[in-house]
């Protein structure tokens, strides 16, 4: 009972803190003409999925979207407000949530290894995000799917770089702070004697 509640507290805190981390990463951004920026926030999304897993990771991303919706400038370049969800990036934002689920599922499907991390962030953090982002972008801007897809090729180099970084970071984090992936719950809450 007490154990259970302590775990909830830790979950809430991690979700909130990762949402904050994603918001902070929004200050690293390259605005592109066309309205969809290159942003380090996708790195934050990849890390949220990979570190927090398929349940808490997407919740952290969703929380960022809620903060944006209520008007806090948490998105790339200090943007926020409901206008964002009527704009050309709305699909990418949804894709972040779905992507975090997929990343979490893949990365946490077994022991955390570099190839699981790489597979997860490339598939969930790039493929899934684009799958949501490109159609919505095309719809909002009234363009065809093909030119929309071609225009988002501009993100690919950056996103591959971020995927590589996320993989390296996950592996490094496993060494630098093993409790990150829930190892701590075993250590911090040892079997109660008797």
């Amino acid at each position: 009972m007490a154990r259970h509640r302590a775990e909830i507290g830790r979950d809430l805190a991690r979700i909130a803190v990762f949402a904050a981390l994603i918001a902070v990463l929004g200050s690293v951004t390259i605005p592109l003409p066309g309205g969809v920026p290159i942003t380090a926030q996708t790195l934050g999304v990849m890390l949220a999925g990979a570190v927090l897993g398929p349940r808490r990771g997407p919740l952290a991303v969703l929380l960022v979207l809620v903060l944006a919706a209520v008007g806090l400038p948490v998105l790339a370049g200090g943007r926020g407000g409901l206008g964002v969800f009527a704009g050309p990036t709305a699909g990418y934002l949804l894709g972040w949530v779905a992507g975090a689920v997929v990343i979490g599922l893949i990365v946490h499907s077994g022991r955390i290894t570099w190839w699981r991390a790489a597979l997860g962030v490339v598939f969930g953090g790039i493929a899934v995000v684009y799958a949501f982002g490109i159609p919505v972008q095309a719809f909002v801007l009234g363009m065809d799917l093909v030119p929309a897809a071609l225009s988002s090729a501009a993100f690919l180099p950056g996103d591959l770089l971020k995927a590589a970084a996320a993989t390296a970071l996950v592996v490094a984090l496993r060494r630098a702070y093993p409790p990150a992936f829930g190892v701590r719950s075993a250590a911090a809450a040892p079997a109660r004697a008797v």
């Binding site: 949402a19 066309g34 929380l63």
Partner: protein, 197 residues
């Protein structure tokens, strides 16, 4: 943290947040579905500008909102102008800009707290599905509290790299992550200690 809300007493300011949200959603659907000719889309844009006037927003505010969309307008308009037709360019751009401006107006006339309260009310039906609405509200406030804290961590680490005269590049994110996660665990303990979970 800077908020978008601009205090005022206009009818749009006084309208309940929930009503505004529903209205925005309905207009968005209608505009996406029907505003496909020059007259309709132009009318929608004029209507939105009229709403800014109704909210007694200074023109400066509307101007700066449009200015933020300048690249979108230029690129989208230019692209459609060249590859489709000037008419299509006008219709698409005005429709997108009108919708973004309308949604922005909601943020300009509604307090963050009111939006949060509406969100909480909207979540209530999900309580039966096991959603802990208080926990959601708590987590939202917690995230707002933590943004400057995490930003401070990032700042410290940037300073440390400069002070040590090293560039560790992306590896510099590792200490940021470690510190962030440790902090999360401390906050989790504080939540428990203050009897909040």
């Amino acid at each position: 943290m800077i908020q978008l809300y601009r205090p005022g007493t206009s009818i749009l300011h006084r309208l309940p947040a929930g009503a505004k949200l529903v209205g925005l959603a309905l207009v968005a659907i209608a505009v996406s579905a029907f505003a496909h000719d020059v007259w309709a889309s132009t009318g929608v844009l004029i209507g939105v500008c009229a709403l800014y006037a109704l909210a007694r927003m200074p023109w400066r505010v509307l101007g700066s909102e449009v200015w933020r969309l300048r690249w979108l307008i230029l690129v989208l308009g230019g692209f459609l102008c060249v590859f489709v037709s000037p008419v299509a360019a006008w219709v698409s751009s005005t429709r997108v800009v009108a919708l973004i401006l309308l949604a922005g107006l909601l943020s300009l006339t509604t307090r963050m707290g009111d939006l949060l309260a509406t969100l909480r009310r909207g979540l209530r039906p999900f309580r039966r599905a096991g959603v802990d609405v208080d926990a959601v509200a708590m987590t939202i406030s917690l995230a707002v509290t933590m943004i400057p804290v995490i930003a401070g961590f990032a700042n410290d680490l940037r300073d440390a790299q400069r002070a040590r005269n090293v560039r560790v590049g992306i590896r510099g994110v590792v200490p940021l992550l470690v510190r962030t996660l440790r902090h999360a665990d401390d906050v989790g303990d504080a939540l428990a200690a203050r009897g909040l979970v």
